[in-house]
Symmetry: C2
Subunit: 355 residues, 2 copies
């Protein structure tokens, strides 16, 4: 059975072996204050810098989940105002969390499945929040759009949710201030770890709020994460096994090479969209080609959802259910680095033959 | 090598097999919104209720760590005032987090390695925080002491840190309101999961703060955890593998039986303390016998620390380092359910012969 659900998704194909090695070497009993643990953290820093061309002024921290990054980013980067570009369930949650935390959050909202025309933001927004890839609807924002805010709003911080797209997107991190992801999507790891990348402007903002006497949290504030991160440590006992596995998979992805990963992602998404475009009954949910996600491809199956699901399961393909209100009409297909070209060719052949 | 560090510690001896089964059955790719995931959560609820004699008015939630419980407990259970019994580094962190979150936290503090004489708390404390077992110093509070607050302070909530003692202590949960632990200690699991047990009074307090317009957090407030917990789900994508493994180990511990676990823990701690009491140079750090932890036993090795460490490592025993300022004088020995009587007999024989 190949798991095409967008998360938790199919494990990266090397993870089974890495887990065996971890248990052989007692990694799950390893102290998070040991030199060995610190080497895993360092390997992740080095590996992500190389894989993503991350500038030197970015730091890398671990959280329990991307949900936690939503909360910590508001606490640490917003005194009063944040502005959110909302086109799906996950972007909306970040916006709602800002409200829950008492901020004056504003939003630019478009219907589910659509992208944004306007780039206006509310006056004085300290943080501009964008979702590169909406896992709920399969809309991906153009990187040019994402990069366009920085020069127009030099006093704002730009944060990007890349939970279900990294390592694919080719961001120019100098045009952003923070990017985050969860390991159970494109990195193909067991769930239970968020990765939060922030530049020095984010650290300075959090320090500034703290100096003003604002509450920015406790054990997981940016200054505390930074203080421990400099030593390759975490404030709390973290998901040591998850961090070990991430260090291994990042190494595997670096060895494979980001340009090969990007090319394969584009090839696999192209053949799936082509089959959906030409199918008599199963159609791409996102009609505007420029808005289509390369990493989470959503098929509008209308009343054929159950039939297609049963058909695919019988062939060994496990599709992801539609999200929320679309549960009965959509199927979602993750296109992550672990999914091989051959697997996608078999999947597209199967969908193509479905009547 | 047998790991006696108090955490991350030796895995429960069944974990290796459970991990193999998890990977065979694609648990790491399992959706956290699936019925199968819900069954793991339900198994943990049922198992912990049986193992710990947890009353029906308690709910069980998952966090990223015990650190997170420190923060969430202050956010959800304290509007203004909390009182903390501080006799070590971990109790102190909970107190400090209350201050960081802007609460009027007060404390009863005794020197490291000592227990409490007085039971006075500051007037109007909404939360009384106790650390059953100080992992940093090896002091354990008598359960009678812990149970004594409820009747004297019926308007306060009593929260107990049992991070490094559960499942051993025989708490009367009707005399407490909340207890929490981390899975990498007595439950012998890979780190990266906290378990937070709260009764209905805690839920009501959080609801009350929310109704008053107070900010109690976002995705991990008690009302949100409860709303998802009723469906055996979590708000975020959690550490699915960790939750699966916990459900399996809790089942194993239930089958072993809590009274056998308690008796073995007492036997193992008795033989180690006896050897330390009689040793010419290595002594128990905690001199008052009634204060000695059964689950984290600390040896004061003074200038023999390095020699004893090298001696034990050669024999296949991995002792835990002393905590913080005691790094050069102490060694810590976890006495968890995974550590067998035979392993403790070998360990004590070895220490006994050390000169």
């Amino acid at each position: 059975m190949i798991q095409f659900s967008p998360g938790p998704s199919q494990l990266y194909f090397t993870v089974n072996d890495h887990v065996k090695e971890a248990f052989r070497n007692d990694i799950p009993s390893l102290s998070h204050r040991s030199k060995t643990f610190e080497s895993f953290y360092q390997n992740i820093k080095d590996g992500l810098r190389e894989l993503l061309s991350l500038p030197a002024n970015y730091s890398i921290f671990f959280t329990g989940s991307a949900n936690e990054v939503w909360e910590r980013s508001i606490q640490n980067l917003v005194e009063d105002k944040s502005h959110h570009f909302v086109n799906g369930a996950f972007a909306k949650r970040h916006f709602e969390i800002a409200l829950q935390l008492g901020r004056q959050a504003t939003k630019t909202e478009v219907p589910m499945g659509k992208s944004f025309g306007a780039t206006e933001i509310s006056y004085g927004a300290e943080l501009i929040a964008l979702t590169h890839n909406e896992t709920s609807t399969g809309v991906s924002l153009d990187t040019g759009f994402i990069h366009s805010f920085k020069s127009k709003h030099p006093d704002s911080l730009v944060i990007v949710d890349a939970v279900s797209s990294l390592p694919y997107p080719d961001f120019d991190y100098t045009q952003l201030d923070s990017v985050y992801f969860s390991v159970q999507k494109g990195f193909g790891l067991p769930a239970g770890l968020g990765v939060w990348m922030v530049n020095d402007r984010c650290l300075a903002k959090a320090e500034n709020l703290l100096a003003k006497g604002k509450c920015i949290g406790s054990y997981h504030t940016l200054p505390i994460l930074h203080q421990f991160g400099l030593k390759n440590q975490t404030p709390e006992t973290p998901n040591v096994l998850g961090i070990y596995l991430l260090s291994k998979v990042v190494g595997d992805l670096v060895r494979k090479g980001i340009s090969k990963i990007r090319k394969e992602t584009e090839y696999k998404s192209a053949i799936l969209y082509q089959v959906l475009d030409n199918h008599p009954t199963i159609k791409p949910f996102i009609t505007a080609k420029e808005d289509r996600s390369k990493t989470v491809i959503i098929a509008n199956c209308s009343d054929r959802t159950m039939a297609l699901t049963a058909y695919l399961l019988e062939k060994g393909f496990y599709p992801g259910e539609g999200y929320g209100e679309f549960k009965k009409q959509h199927l979602r297909f993750a296109n992550f680095p672990t999914h091989s070209k051959e697997q996608f060719e078999s999947l597209t052949d199967a969908i193509s033959a479905f009547r």
